[in-house]
Point group: D3
Chain length 141, copies 6
């Protein structure tokens, strides 16, 4: 039987966003989202940790070459998020609130098909929004 190892790659992106519900007036948005509802946006240095799991290859010692993982994350996720506006510029965030929770779910959906083709499995998407706040998503269960 195999020996499953979990490997994590960190990537970073700097983006603007706001939390805002169009059907609510300004006062209700402020009540619900506080400072995060500033109409002119605010932003963050997000850190994204992508964890995959698999068995190390005897030949390379790798579950998966993390440079390959980096390229997948860059192509499908961080190139679309870095120095962007999460509400306006990102195709895969259309129609959902740009909370860190939703960002994690949507990044999972972007990455899972590509990672699962490699022989490894996507295990966790972790995003830190500030040093005090982070979310993790393991596919929903």
């Amino acid at each position: 039987m195999g020996k499953i190892v979990y490997a994590t790659r960190r990537e970073r992106f700097n983006a603007a966003h706001k939390l805002w519900h169009d059907e609510w007036d300004h006062a209700k948005n402020v009540e619900m989202f506080g400072k995060c509802s500033n109409p002119n946006w605010h932003g963050h240095n997000y850190e994204l940790f992508v964890t995959i799991k698999g068995e190390p290859s005897e030949e390379t010692g790798y579950c998966m070459d993390l440079k390959h993982l980096r390229d997948i994350v860059e192509k499908y996720v961080t190139s679309k998020l870095d120095h962007k506006n999460l509400n306006l510029d990102v195709d895969f965030m259309k129609g959902v609130k740009t909370s860190t929770e939703n960002l994690a779910i949507k990044i999972w959906e972007q990455l899972e098909p590509h990672i699962n083709q490699t022989g490894c499995k996507l295990h966790c998407i972790r995003i830190t929004e500030t040093e005090n706040q982070a979310v993790e998503y393991f596919g929903g269960e």
Copy 2:
């Protein structure tokens, strides 16, 4: 079926404590607890990570407003610990050794009833005591 996301809030508190067993003499306390038994106390900058789990609301994108989580943690835990003596000043630590392990268990017991009223569930209490030592408690199982 829903999509469960884990969200973590970090809080900090600076406190004094010692590890000491009244029924042991000084030599036995030193043998068992080393430097941590200094009679005049020592102290730490503790970091507390509270992780809850739940489904993001469609309206807000949040599992739970982390400002609300912060207020619960402040009210029931960090206001009682910050700039205090864990052995002398903290009602919920009476009768147990002030190890980081016990601190995690007791903080869980303080927070669980209040967090579980919000629709989310408490998942993990993590405390770092120094950069080299940390504990996690998931409710005991």
Copy 3:
């Protein structure tokens, strides 16, 4: 003669901005500012380190109560920057590019008169924009 000590308080703010010159067309802005010129903004978790210098009081051991410094920084700087758009929302940034360099100069100008009333002197404004980039300003010399 006295013993001068330097004391530093860290504050944080999360803001949106872009680097953009109205008199340049889009291509020239991209050439000069790269990803930082994204029209829909991007953002950062900025860290601000304010360093003052002075002699510790015999009575308190403090150069200056850092809670008082925190209040000055909050009132004149971070309340105006946190969860804001540096280009649109900040009175003291009007008319200058929102580079980290200019942000440091303008924060110095905001704080110096208030800090120098306390008996201490402002020594340094340090801002980290990302983990890879930081600036320091010591009043210009």
Copy 4:
């Protein structure tokens, strides 16, 4: 029923290594391992996090005295890795590629018998190789 707590001790070691397959020529090694195949080695500041689980003792409040855990890790692992060449100097790495994945598996195998004698159980070996890459091993499942 008991209350299981997880406790983690961090240790550090600085080591040289390369990723290299003797049966491959230089070009194939570069293709597979990139910069990590430099014949004259390169190196890292590795961080090792050893997590054990157990019930806190009523007497001490500890799952396990982490100074004892530190001594076990020092004796069986870090004294053999620190300021060493992972390919040439380390008995327990003979015959496997010195990837971080394999390092985690082999450290687990070194530590598990000694930790499981203490009444606690080894839960996780986590190694960070750089700020962007980390692996975790939980015994293989």
Copy 5:
């Protein structure tokens, strides 16, 4: 002419303290020192950065063997501070408030004669008390 290099060694100590003026009543102490006046103490994980300057030796490439600096700091400073009460247990802190400012001045006074015997000069004592507060002392000027 020589090439002066600055070298820094970090050490850590965990200690209890309070800020308290015996000649003031409880209310005045709280007014002046806030939470730091808790009668039963609080504590911190202090980080101490000792910076020396000198010319690297041609033979070793070192200004000073930092293991030797570590031993000096351990002997004269951290062994007296770690897991101690700064108000009660530390000979060189008698008679002054245990502010971080005073701690930096007193550590300088402890170390300077011993470091200046090595051919290098003490340049800076930096202490971080929390992630938000730090002081530096350069000998007073």
Copy 6:
């Protein structure tokens, strides 16, 4: 008169090295360099902080485009150091001990002519070798 701002770019490199004097025997090398004399090398994740100073341009708000600084550092320094052996692979380290002190001096000498052509001046080379040890070089004075 102008307003001088200091700007810092961080780069990283992972390298192998040893401290070793060919004219000394093994015992003397161990006595002088301790674990750093391991014949089969060891290694580090070095962090390099390059600080330049200059006046922000009115047009861009930059002292110097830090992407340009990054390119200079990459071309003349980190491409020669990353995933290399400091003793064997690096042209500009020939003939000197590979201490962090000498590394800082030699990196200064590599960068100064190229940075001083940009209108800014090189101010400081800072290198961290481990979380406990760092050096700074300001050009020698």
